[in-house]
Structures are given as C-alpha cells and as structure tokens.
Amino acid sequence: MTQTWLRWLLNALIGAGVLFGTLTLLIALAGQPIGASYRILLQGAIGFPPSEQLTPLDAWDGVLHDMTLLLLTGLSVGLALQAGLFNIGAAGQLLVGALVAAWLGTKQGIPTSIHLPLTLLAGALAGALWALMPALLKVWRGAHEVITTIMFNYIALYLTHWLVVEYLKDPASDAPQTAPVLASAQLPPLGSFIATSWGIALAAGIALLLWAILYRAVWGYETRATGANRDAADAAGVPTRRRIVEAMLLAGAFAGLAGAIEVCGSQYRFFEGFPSEYGFDGIAVALMGANHPAWTILTAFALGALRNGTYNLHVVTGAPKEIAMIVQAALILYVAALRLRRGRLEG
C-alpha cells in the first residue's frame, strides 16, 4: 500500500516537473522574464496575487467559463474512450451545437418558459447527430473514427460558416454572425457578482450523473467492458455495436451542449471563427482525468486555470497564446507513457 502511494506521489511530482518545465521553457523562449510571467500567469489562473488589470472575480469568471467547456468536451472524449473510441471530433460537434443553439435561440414565438431548455437540448442533439455518422461508420464499416471525426471537424467548420453567412446572418450587421439570442434563451449568470452562467452547474451535474451511470448502471458496465475488450464483451453477450453508437451519441451531445452553453451563456450569438478549440483541449482533460467523470471535473478545473493563466500572459505581455496547447500536449504524452504502459486505452 505504501508503495502504491509512493509511486503515485513520484508520478505526480514528475508530472508537475513536466508541467512547469515546459511552461518555463516556453516563457523563456518567448523572451519573457520568468518570475514576472508566473505572477501574471497566476493572476489569470487563480486571481492571486491581486492585479490592477484583472480583478480576482474576473479571473475566477474566466476560469469557470473555460472549465464549463473543458468539462463537457472532456466528458465527451472520456466517455467515447470508455467505449473504446477516440473522439477527436468534439470541436466539430461543438460548432454544430453552437450554430443550432444560436438559430433556435433567435427564433421568435417560442414560449419563454421552454425556450432555454429547448435551445440547449437542440444544441446537444445537433452534436449527437454530428457524431452519429463516424460512430455508424465505425461499427458498420470499420472506418477509423480518428480520421472520420477529424474530417467531420473540417466539414462542420465550412458548413457552419456557409450557413451563418448565407442563411442565418444578422441583417442588422455586416459581420458574418447571427443576431443575439433572445433574452428567453439566455443562461442567467450564477449571481450578480460573477458573469459565469449556470452552465457550469449544468456541466457539473452531467459529470456526476455520468459517473453514476458509468459505474453503477448496467449500461455503464457494458460500455466500459466494450472499451476494455470488445471481443470479450461480445462473447459475454454485450451488444457492443449498440453501446459504441450510444456512447458516441452521448459524447457528441456533450460537445454540442458545450457549444450551446457558450452561445446561450457567454457569447449570445454564433459568429465566424467561433472558438471550437475547446474540443481539442478536451483530449488532455479526459486523458489526464483517466476518462473518469469525477477526476475530469478536477482536470477541467486545473486546465481551465492553466488556459486562463496563459491567456492572461498573452494579453498582458503578448506571449503566444499557444503555450497552453503545447503544455497540454506534453502532459498527454507523459500521462500516456505512464498509464498506458501496457498499450491499453482505458484508465
């Protein structure tokens, strides 16, 4: 027992070394002073030490906002991995969900009491539908989901751009963007003190629910069995094809919901260049969280803080904002080398 703990501690320490080593190297290569940069980074990540440009509440708002999206895309990637599929398509699913939410959110004549839930649900459904094709191609035709989901990312990018320019453009503006969603379709902020919407609570609730389903329900057990060893699960009578498609549909729904929450709770519209890179960040969130919903909440928070910290560094000093992505890639490699020693995908 003590040995496992020692091992765990050692791994965590090396992980911290990878994190801070990469971070320090990238800050130095960007020609920034290390000490001052970490100060700015921390201001963005945890709101401390206090700064004049960024109040702690603004910093926390930024972290919680990122955490909302990272949690949902992390759950998306993680659930698919539990079923044995690598969903690199969360970015595309997020875009499609965001566009559909922006379309429905601007529609007049929907009863105000159901407008918001309907809009969020529509975004989730759109994301699920976008994941359906790669899932079906996987189980029917054996098409590699990494390639098909990437292709669907590019198709989503051009399709949503076409729709927003040709059919859904706000007539009151010249910019390629939709009109703002109506007040009845907006996610209210958590309180008057912080701008973060209730989307964070929704995402956390979904994570807890998924935890229960994955580890307490037959469906979850069968899905995990499918991912662990599909042949064995098949032999044991698990309908593996069904489980794979269902898991992928849910994964798409999570990513689509992330897009809808971003529209209804933060951006209030869809526009050209809508931030879809959260879909790729979800890969690091899921892998570092061992594809487990509870751990994913923690890694979403941690990587949300990292993302917001490096973003603050970018705003204040002009250092490239890609630092977060590079650090995440290094962490994925480290975690993968650590946990997947025996070449298995599950955590």
Binding site: V146, E166, P320, E322, I326, L345
Partner: protein, 309 residues
Amino acid sequence: MGEVFDLQLVNTALRQATPLMLAALGGLMSERTGVINIGLEGKILMGAFAGAYGALITGSPWVGLGSAVLVGLLFALLHAVATQEFKTDHVVSGVAINLLALGLSTYLFRQLILPREERGLSSVVRGFEPFRAGWLEHVPILGALLKDQTWLVLFAVVLPFALFWLLNHTRWGLRVYAVGNDAVKARTMGVPVKKIRYLGVLLSGVFAGMAGAFLTLASADQFRENMSAGRGFIALAALIFGRWHPLGAAGAAFGFGFFEALQMRLQGQPLFGLQLPTDLLLMLPYLPTVIALAGSFGRMKPPSDLGNP
C-alpha cells in the same frame, strides 16, 4: 464541361496530390512495421514551418527542405521512443504529437516569422523553381502534366515504385513484412524488431517532413497557421483505401489530390452553369475521404500486428 475537366486539372491534381502521396507513403513505412501513425498531420505542419523558416533566413529552398526533414525526423523519433520504449498507446501518442505540432508551429510562427513582418521584412519564401523537362515538354499529355512542376512532384511519383521494389525484393523489405505481421515470431527468428520499427517510423518523419516542405516551398509561398489542414489524415485514409500497398496508397492519394484540384478549379468557375458556394466546395477534399473510408470495408487488410507493443 470542357472548361472544367482538362489536362491542366490533372496537372494541378498531381501537384495537390504530392504532399498527400509523400505523407501516405511515410505512413505506410511506419504502419507496415506495425506502428500506427496518427501523427502524420503534425509532422507535415512542423515540416511546413521548418521549410518556410529555413528558406526564409537562408534564402535557400534546400536548407528549408533539410530543416523540414530534420524536424520531421525529430517528431518521428518522439513517436518511436514513446511507442517502443514507453509502450505508449500509438493513437494517443500520435494525437499528442499533432497537438504539440499545432501549438508549437503557431507559437514559433508568432515568435520568429510575424516579428519579421512587423519590421517590414517579407515572409514570402523563395521556393523551388519549376523543373525543366527539356524535350519531354513537347511530348503530348506528358508535357502538359510536367508543365511548371517542381522536382518534388517527380520524386513523389517515383517513390511508390521505389518503395514497392524495396519492400518486395530486399532483405529489409522481407523483415518489414515479418515485423508488421507477427513481431513475436519475427523476434524469435532473429529479426531486430525494434530497429526495423525505428527505421520505419523515422522514414515516416522524413517523408511527412518533405510533404510539409512541399506546402511552403513548392505550393504556397508562406507559412500559415494550421496550413496542413487535415492532409495528414487524408493521407492516412489514402493509406487505408490503398490497402497499405505503396502503389495503392499513392494512387488513392492522387485521387484525393484530384478532388482538391477540382475544388480549386470550381471556385469561380461554374459547373453545368451553376456556381457552387465557396464553403461547400472547400468541403470537397474531406467528404470523399469519409466516403472512401466507408467503402474500404472488406478490402482492408492492415498489417496484422498493427498497434501491438
């Protein structure tokens, strides 16, 4: 019709297919030894950056090409060490390498190339000059296909045949076959499995780096963020559609290159009197890839030890 489909279209297709062919053959070298290579995309992107930057600061496309190959090798080495020494899952390692390349190339672009522009220096790269085919230029059809091509295009056309010969007629080729199909048996027969795999993965870095260099030194004349635009994955689809065979993979890559050329041609030129929207045309290289993957079933025969440690 006559205006859309002509020899010039095939000429463009050949050019657009070149990076896909190089990358697909790189993927082939890695996957035939049993190492899945999802990281082609990242190596292309890093190669494109290194090619542009190397040529930019020295003025020589050859230095650019050399840097691209070197960077491709480094990223391939990372994948080889991760999968062979640390037994990392091949797909996870490849995806991490793609993210690393996307982040790093954009980071370096902002640090090294954009400041030059701000100082008023050009970021346009002097790439490779078109290849002079001499009397061949006057041969019908062939002349039209070779017109204004760089030597990299010729290299990409010859490479599949060279690899086909090497894989089927040399000791090394036999060993690759043995390692890819049953690594354990190969090891007991005295084949240096790890060495063969390292070589395969490193070759994928060389070819994917060249594919990237082609983008900045022979196609576009400067680096742009994420300019590989999924080509590494299209190349993987070509590899699968071409059944892990050098000629099949190159042929499939040419097919995807043709859709890219068609896309470029149809931007601003109506088809049957109908001008298709820009965004829908831009989907053109990606949709056939999905369809090709969907249609590959039953014909797929990956190296049977693919992905095993």
